[in-house]
């Protein structure tokens, strides 16, 4: 078996890499011609007011890292509290505030922007062969908006929190909650405009700025995934914004349309909320699917199986994702007949998801697979997303959901997709494009270790929660009967492992910035325009607008998979 190894890895793993040679030769090419985006402009102002999509991506990455750690700290406290059956660490109210903060921050300030606003921002113009996004200043504005939005949330945090859960259900949020509901909702409201601005930019860029030769079916699937995500962002977020605005005004003025005491209907809020939030869970998975597609093809040296099917699957997930929101409301007082329809449609949406899993698997078949860190993350994604998706079918089944709704089963389900799936993909993407973004290689051995640790820690944390939920442990309680303890202890112990696996990359990534080997333009010998420019890329991405004259993922001649003979490196080298 051949191994694609970076220069660092080829030293430590015995030099089995047949692809290190062309890379050595390419190293440094292009870097003298134009200064990289990192060195074009100095000082804080050149960053905070940059319009370069690559720098904005970095700003986003730093911002969401901060939020990831705040959200993570809340999760740590939650798992500590649940270590014992008694509510000994925090009060019931304190616990409510912890899981609300955790949910709000992780959803809107980490997962929604995670891949689109960092990797997507960085890569979309590069992959399309453009100099920047269509509206660079709008892009900068969307970063500033998320910073302002984050400030609201930090204000809430400092002032004493909010306890409604990330779902803000009325009339609890409008009338009874003691927390800082208005400030929290305002933060999410503002973050929504940031999301909309980003989505708009991506769609317009994809439509109008593709390089010559890049017709629609040559667009990398990562870009397609971002495109589908952006569609959801644009069509769902405004409704959430309005729902939150209504909550805020209702709470401030004491009149309104959600409080049954005032003649309103709280179920209406749930409709508005889930019209956004179910599609939004696909905002939190589709970009991961895109990343995984890029990684799987590269590290299996394979064309993607069923390119067009993958495109249609992405788009149909984005569209059908809007038809199923009522599966969150089976026991909320929604009509039984609507419940039946929503349950059926939820099964329908599993079909395109299954197509994607099938096609990744088929891509791996007869590939020459290289288990480098990005690939480990990608494979972890496929496994965990499948688990999450399958349990999605459990809860989509109306009779089962009556039983497991609001239990840990649901908690485990969505963590399998959002954390097992999306966060794994995010880390995979970070590793895959790290050399491109920073111009440095990270230590491969450490990275593989972290990937395995993350997979292991994740399953240990969340698999017991399926069992807990099935046994009837409800979510959002800070104390519980002692027969559940063994699973909670397992879960908390797993969380420690998982936490370590998240901190490790932070360590070696930082280390690599200073001590990592310089990366060549294309250290993985990957396809895609982003690898045809310097690492890190110059300010305007390409010395001249590239032409695209090959299909996407042209890793081997059509219908001639590499099988086991990858000792013809010309098969996999980008046209130069």
């Amino acid at each position: 078996m051949n191994t694609i190894v970076d220069a660092q890895g080829s030293g430590s793993s015995g030099g089995s890499g047949s692809h290190s040679l062309p890379r050595q030769a390419e190293r440094g090419v292009g870097r003298e011609e134009a200064t990289s985006y990192l060195t074009a402009g100095h000082g804080v102002k050149s960053w905070l007011f940059t319009t370069d999509h690559k720098r904005i991506a970095i700003l986003y990455a730093l911002t969401i890292t901060v939020f990831f750690f705040i959200g993570g700290a809340a999760a740590t406290l939650i798992r500590m509290e649940l270590f014992t059956p008694a509510g000994d660490l925090v009060s019931a109210e304190g616990y409510n505030k912890l899981f609300t903060l955790h949910g709000v921050i992780m959803v809107w300030f980490f997962l929604v922007p995670a891949i689109p606003a960092t990797l997507g921002n960085f890569l979309l113009p590069l992959m399309l062969g453009a100099r920047d996004l269509a509206f660079p200043r709008l892009n900068l504005m969307s970063w500033w908006l998320i910073v302002i939005a984050g400030a609201f949330v930090l204000y809430v945090l400092v002032m004493g929190g909010v306890d409604t859960g990330w779902t803000f259900y009325a009339p609890y949020s409008t009338t009874y909650s003691n927390g800082y509901v208005v400030a929290a909702a305002a933060g999410i409201f503002v973050s929504g405009f940031s999301t909309i601005a980003t989505g708009l930019n991506f769609i317009v860029t994809t439509h109008t700025m593709r390089a010559p030769g890049m017709h629609w079916f040559r667009v990398p699937l990562f870009v397609w995934s971002i495109y589908a995500t952006a569609l959801i962002m644009l069509l769902a977020t405004p409704v959430l914004a309005m729902a939150l605005l209504l909550i805020m005004i209702e709470r401030l003025l004491g009149v309104g349309i959600f409080d049954p005491a005032l003649g309103g209907d709280p179920v209406l809020f749930e409709h508005l909320f889930w019209f956004y939030s179910h599609p939004a869970v696909y905002i939190m998975i589709l970009p991961g699917m895109g990343v995984v597609t890029e990684i799987v093809t590269c590290f299996a040296r394979r064309r993607i199986f069923g390119y067009q099917f993958m495109v249609y699957a992405l788009l149909s997930i984005a569209v059908v994702g809007f038809f199923v929101w009522g599966h969150h409301m089976f026991v909320a007082g929604q009509s039984m007949y609507a419940g039946l329809v929503f349950s059926f449609l939820s099964y329908v949406i599993a079909v395109p998801s299954a197509i994607k899993v099938f096609n990744w698997t088929a891509t791996l078949y007869r590939g020459s697979i290289v288990l480098d860190a990005p690939m480990l993350y990608a494979l972890g994604f496929i496994g965990l997303f499948t688990m999450g998706g399958l349990t999605g079918l459990f809860v989509a089944s109306l009779p089962i959901d009556v039983h497991v709704h609001d239990t840990y089963f649901v908690v485990a389900h969505f963590h399998y997709v959002m954390v097992g799936g999306m966060v794994s993909a995010f880390f995979g993407g970070l590793h895959f494009w790290w050399p491109k973004i920073t111009g440095r290689l990270y230590p491969e051995a450490w990275a593989r270790f972290a990937a395995l640790l993350m997979f292991f820690g994740f399953n240990m944390t969340f698999f017991p929660q399926f069992i807990l939920g099935w046994m009837g442990m409800p979510r959002r309680y800070h104390e519980y009967p002692s027969e559940f303890q063994v699973y909670h202890v397992l879960s908390s112990a797993g969380a420690v492992v998982l936490g370590a696996a998240y901190l490790l990359p932070l360590g070696y990534f930082l280390w690599s910035l200073r001590y990592g080997q310089p990366a060549s333009d294309n250290p993985w010998d990957a396809k895609g325009l982003e690898w045809r420019t310097a690492s890190p890329p110059p300010k305007h991405n390409f010395p001249s607008t590239p032409r695209v004259d090959e299909e996407a993922y042209d890793y081997h001649p059509p219908r001639r998979p590499p099988g086991g003979h990858l000792d013809h490196p010309s098969d996999g080298r980008p046209a130069s």
């Binding site: 409704v239 019209f275 009522g326 009509s335 329809v341």
Partner: protein, 99 residues
């Protein structure tokens, strides 16, 4: 009038659209007082849609726009229809049978 002079040669067909819009406004205002049961709503919303269509096609140039712009223009309305359809799937069937 100065305005008339400044816009010399620019009026057509906008002015015709405007006259139609005003006529429709008068019509819908008047018909609102004619008892027609549920058709009051149908008529007033129908005329509203017609007016919006005129503005979109002529003032917003949708008539001459390419397919992508038309698609974008329709997307919001189609999704709005989804929001309404499924929400009312709930409200309208609440009264049915055991539920």
């Amino acid at each position: 009038m100065r305005a008339i002079g400044a816009f010399h040669g620019l009026w057509w067909p906008g002015i015709l659209v405007w006259v139609t819009l005003m006529a429709l406004l008068g019509l819908t205002w008047g018909l609102a007082y004619v008892p027609m049961g549920v058709f009051n709503t149908v008529v007033s919303m129908g005329i509203g849609t017609l007016k919006a269509l005129l503005v979109a096609l002529f003032f917003m140039h949708l008539k001459e726009s390419g397919p992508v712009l038309r698609l974008a223009a329709c997307a919001g309305l189609v999704w709005l229809a989804v929001l309404f359809a499924f929400t009312f799937a709930d409200y309208l069937s609440r009264g049915w049978g055991p539920g």
